[in-house]
Subunit: 198 residues, 2 copies
C-alpha cells in the first residue's frame, strides 16, 4: 500500500507557494502519494476573529515574512515576485482546484496558479487570469469556470474547509498523515518521513 | 574575525528551549560566536494588543504547538515535559541572565533555566527555583538575586527588549546576523550559514 499524505493548501497563503512547487518531487522521491486538498483559510481565520491575514495585522511580522519567503524561494531556486495585492482573492482558484481534483489535474492547476500569483504578479482574483491558466493546461476554460460555479463544487469546497478545521488545521500549508499534523513548509520532510512510517 | 550571531530568546518561549539547547554545539561546529540576548516578549506582544501567548489565545494552534514541540524535542534527543503553567513568568530568569551576560555565564544559566522549565516541570517564576539553578552553577545565589534586582540590570533588560523590537524582532527565538533576521528554531542553520558569509 502506498503511503499517503494530505497536502492542505490555500492559494492566498504565501508559504503554500514553495510547498506546492516542491511537494511533488519530494513525495515522488519518497514514494509517497500526495492528495492535493485546496481549502479556504478565510472562514477559519474569521472564527479566530481575524478579518485579514495575520501578516497584515502584524506589520512587523509581515515584513519579516516577505523577506523570509524571498530567501526561501531563492534557496529553492523558485522565482518570486511579491504580489501587488495581499492576500489575493483565492476563492475562484480554490473552486477551480476543487473541480480539477475530481478530474486528476489539481496539482498541475495549483502549481500554475501559485506561479501566476507569486512569481508572475498576476491577479488570481480575476476570472480572466484563471481562465488563461486553465486554457494553458489544455482545458476548456468556459466549461471549467461554469463547473466551478456549480452548487456541488461550492458545497464541496465548504465541506473540505470544514474538514480541515475539524482536523485542527489553523494555517497553510499543513501536511496531514493519519491524525498527525505538520504545519508549514519547514515540516515537509518530517511529514514525508511520517508517511513512510519512519 | 570570528563570525557572530545574536541569539534573542525569551525564557517563556517554547521553541526557545530546543534552540537554546542546540545553538552552542551547532555554532561551535560552524565556528560562529553566539551572543546570548535574553529579552522579554511580553512588552512586544502588549504593543500588538496581546495580553497572553498567541498559543493560548488560539487554542487550536496551541494544541498543535505542544505536539510539534514534543516531536521536535524527541527528534533532537532532548527531554521534554509540558510545563504546568504556560507561559511561565520569565522576568526573574531574564534579569538573572542579564546579570550572567555581564559575567560570562549567560549560556550556562540559560540552558539550566530552560531545562528546569521545559524538561523538569519546575516553576521559573519562583525565586527559589532560580536560586537553586544559580547555586548549581557554583555562584552565590543571594548575591546574584540581589544584583538581578538592581536598577541598572532592570534598565539593561528593558533596553535589550527595546533593541530587539527596534531590530524587528516579534517572536522568539530570533537569530540576527547583521541586519538579517531569522525567526524560529527552523532557521538556525540558515542563520549560521549567513553568519559564515555563505
Amino acid at each position: 500500500m502506498t503511503a499517503t499524505l494530505d497536502f492542505w493548501f490555500e492559494f492566498a497563503s504565501t508559504y503554500s507557494y514553495p510547498a506546492a512547487m516542491r511537494i511533488g518531487a519530494l513525495a515522488r522521491a519518497s514514494d509517497v502519494k500526495v492528495r492535493w486538498r485546496p481549502f479556504l483559510l478565510g472562514p477559519i481565520y474569521a472564527r479566530h476573529g481575524w478579518r485579514d491575514s495575520p501578516f497584515n495585522v502584524n506589520r512587523v511580522k509581515g515584513r519579516y515574512m516577505w523577506r523570509d519567503l524571498e530567501r526561501r524561494c531563492a534557496a529553492f531556486g523558485l522565482p518570486f515576485a511579491r504580489p501587488a495585492r495581499f492576500p489575493q482573492r483565492s476563492l475562484l482558484a480554490a473552486r477551480v482546484a476543487t473541480v480539477a481534483g475530481g478530474e486528476g489535474w489539481a496539482a498541475d492547476f495549483s502549481r500554475a496558479a501559485f506561479r501566476a500569483s507569486f512569481a508572475e504578479g498576476r491577479d488570481l482574483g480575476e476570472p480572466t487570469t484563471i481562465a488563461a491558466l486553465v486554457a494553458a493546461l489544455g482545458r476548456d476554460a468556459e466549461t471549467v469556470l461554469a463547473r466551478a460555479a456549480a452548487e456541488d463544487i461550492k458545497a464541496r469546497l465548504r465541506d473540505e474547509t470544514a474538514q480541515a478545521e475539524a482536523l485542527g488545521v489553523f494555517g497553510a500549508p499543513t501536511f496531514v498523515v493519519g491524525g498527525e499534523l505538520f504545519w508549514g513548509g519547514d515540516r515537509i520532510d518530517d511529514a514525508l518521513d511520517c508517511a513512510r512510517g519512519r
